[in-house]
Amino acid sequence: MADKIKGKVWKYGDGVNTDVLYPGKYTYKNLTPEEIASHALEDLDPDFSKKAQKGDIIVAGKNFGMGSSREQAVTALKYKGVAAIIAKSFSRIYFRNAINQGIPAIQSEQASDAIENGEIIEIDFKNGKIITEKREFSFPSFPEKMVEILEAGGLVEYTKKKLGKN
């Protein structure tokens, strides 16, 4: 994870659930991460998996990721190249899954209200800032250890690396 990222916004509303993030019918199909990514958000926005670019950012409303604990709901976005998710709030399990798979999940009501679909925004992780053309929003910056987990690409990789170093 870079100190700063810049990307195009895909904006969604409240309650984006794990079924629209990754439809249940594929959960036991043993697909590769790339195949999983090809179904990302397909029941909510079929354009997303066709047009999203590596480095894009999702901005959404309340309770993002509500529903099942299926990790593919994060994997789908990760392998689509989503660089960060900003939401008013996250479901608890989705939030943990996101971080543990290396996707920064940022909670900010104001940013979620203000940012529009298609905008290019910047996230400065070091200083805890979301920067749009018109405004800036702050969020509590991630502590160093957390940044290390995100940088490693997730908890398993982080743990491996950390132990390799010791």
Partner: protein, 417 residues
């Protein structure tokens, strides 16, 4: 501005003041796993380290499928026993001890001010002792085994003030079911819930455990009570470590405060297939049942068994109905035995089983067939939870289950009291 209990626990751990929503890295005091220690040990194996960082912080309790019903579970148990030996894990409890949440509490690990994490969603139970305890995923537990630490988000706190006196036939279980019905299964997602007020003070430790256990069913990360004399009395001879009593300041900032007065509450039932689908008992009275279950980590303590036995004493359960009784631990089983409760159950026609999870999660020991209906003292009634996906599970207090197995249909326990 004062601090909440949660802020205090986390501030102590990380050595600086924290605020809700902040993400911190903490070293939990104890880490629970049960039969899932087997898959966790396999994830741990992937990290390429030989030794667990702090073996003395692990607590492993075999309870979910005990004794092993099939070769697969037997193999898992064997693997865990070997792993425990290899890694010199001192806090291991084998298949004859009881349900993890009860055992961890009665063996003195659930202590005020501690952070306890576990690979089981009802790890919230230790909030009854003023600990901060939360369920986490298996990969996360494996990672703690290897590194001793995990990141956590400091949650905001919802305060629930409990008022009034429990009417006859109404118990902690009915109150928490009512609350979950009111605020919903996601009413406290990612939050800590503080249970307080005059009724909370009056609650026994066993009743507080019902609340903290079921906090998970409103989406909460943790659900706690402030420790008092009853807490100290419970832990004073068994505490496995030093502890510090932490309480929210009077001027702490809560996300919201809710009040519940129980003075006019009647027994409550959660209907299939969600825990927040709650009705007063009179709306479901007469629903035919095939099985009753008295036990689980929610309501398997001697206090619960006593209430059920009061109703079953000298009675017979309805012909064609099964009733399974599981004490939450061997210790509670022995207490029940001494009080003559086991004899009451056996004479009434119940099957008294070994302490453990039993069919609570549908793995063994009395699961349901398609089309069958059960009433249980457990904490979850999801589709397929107790066996067949085409079965129906209702939840209620031990007294309600006892009255219902006598009549063969869901019954208001107050007519037997």
């Amino acid at each position: 501005m004062g601090e909440t209990f949660v802020q205090k626990v986390f501030s102590r751990k990380v050595g600086k003041k924290v605020i809700p929503s902040e993400i911190v890295v903490v070293e939990p005091d104890f880490v629970l796993s049960h039969d899932n220690a087997a898959p966790i040990s396999k994830i741990f194996g992937k990290f390429g380290v030989e030794k667990i960082k702090y073996p003395e912080r692990l607590v492993i309790i075999l309870d979910h499928t005990v004794p092993a019903p099939t070769e697969v579970e037997a193999g898992n148990h064997k693997l865990i026993r070997e792993f425990v030996k290899e890694q010199n894990i001192p806090n291991f409890y084998d298949v004859n001890t009881g349900i993890c949440h009860q055992v961890l509490s009665e063996k003195g690990y659930a202590l005020p001010g501690k952070i306890i994490l576990g690979s089981d969603s009802h790890t919230t139970t230790y909030g009854a002792f003023g600990a901060f305890s939360a369920g986490i995923g298996r990969t996360e537990v494996a990672s703690i085994w290897a590194t001793g630490e995990l990141w956590m988000r400091v949650p905001e706190t919802i305060r629930i003030i409990l008022k009034g006196d429990l009417p006859k036939g109404v118990y902690a279980k009915d109150v928490i079911l009512h609350i979950i019905g009111e605020i919903g299964a996601d009413g406290a997602t990612y939050k800590a819930v503080e249970f307080t007020g005059e009724l909370a003070d009056k609650f026994s430790i066993a009743s507080r455990m019902v609340f903290s256990n079921m906090a998970a069913e409103m989406g909460a990360k943790a659900g706690y009570f402030h420790p008092d004399d009853k807490t100290i009395e419970f832990i004073k001879d068994i505490a496995k470590a030093d502890y510090e009593i932490l309480k929210s300041d009077p001027d702490a900032e809560y996300e919201k405060t809710l009040e519940f007065d129980v003075s006019n509450l009647i027994p409550q039932i959660a209907k299939p297939h969600t825990v927040d689908n709650v009705s007063p008992v009179n709306e479901v009275e007469g629903t035919k049942i095939h099985q009753g279950l008295i036990g689980t980590c929610t309501n398997g303590r001697v206090e619960d068994l006593e209430e059920a036995a009061k109703i079953l004493k000298g009675k017979k359960i309805k012909e064609g109905v099964r009733c399974l009784v599981f004490a939450a631990s061997m210790q509670e089983y022995i207490k029940a035995l001494k009080k003559g409760l086991i004899e009451v159950f056996a004479k009434a026609g119940c099957i008294v089983m070994n302490p453990g999870c039993g069919p609570c999660l549908g793995a063994h020991e009395g699961v349901l067939a398609p089309g069958e209906t059960a009433i249980s003292t457990a904490n979850r009634n999801f589709k397929g939870r107790m066996g067949s996906r085409e079965a129906f599970v209702y939840l209620g207090s031990p007294a309600t289950v006892a009255a219902s197995v006598i009549e063969g249909e869901i019954t208001d326990p107050r007519k037997y009291l």
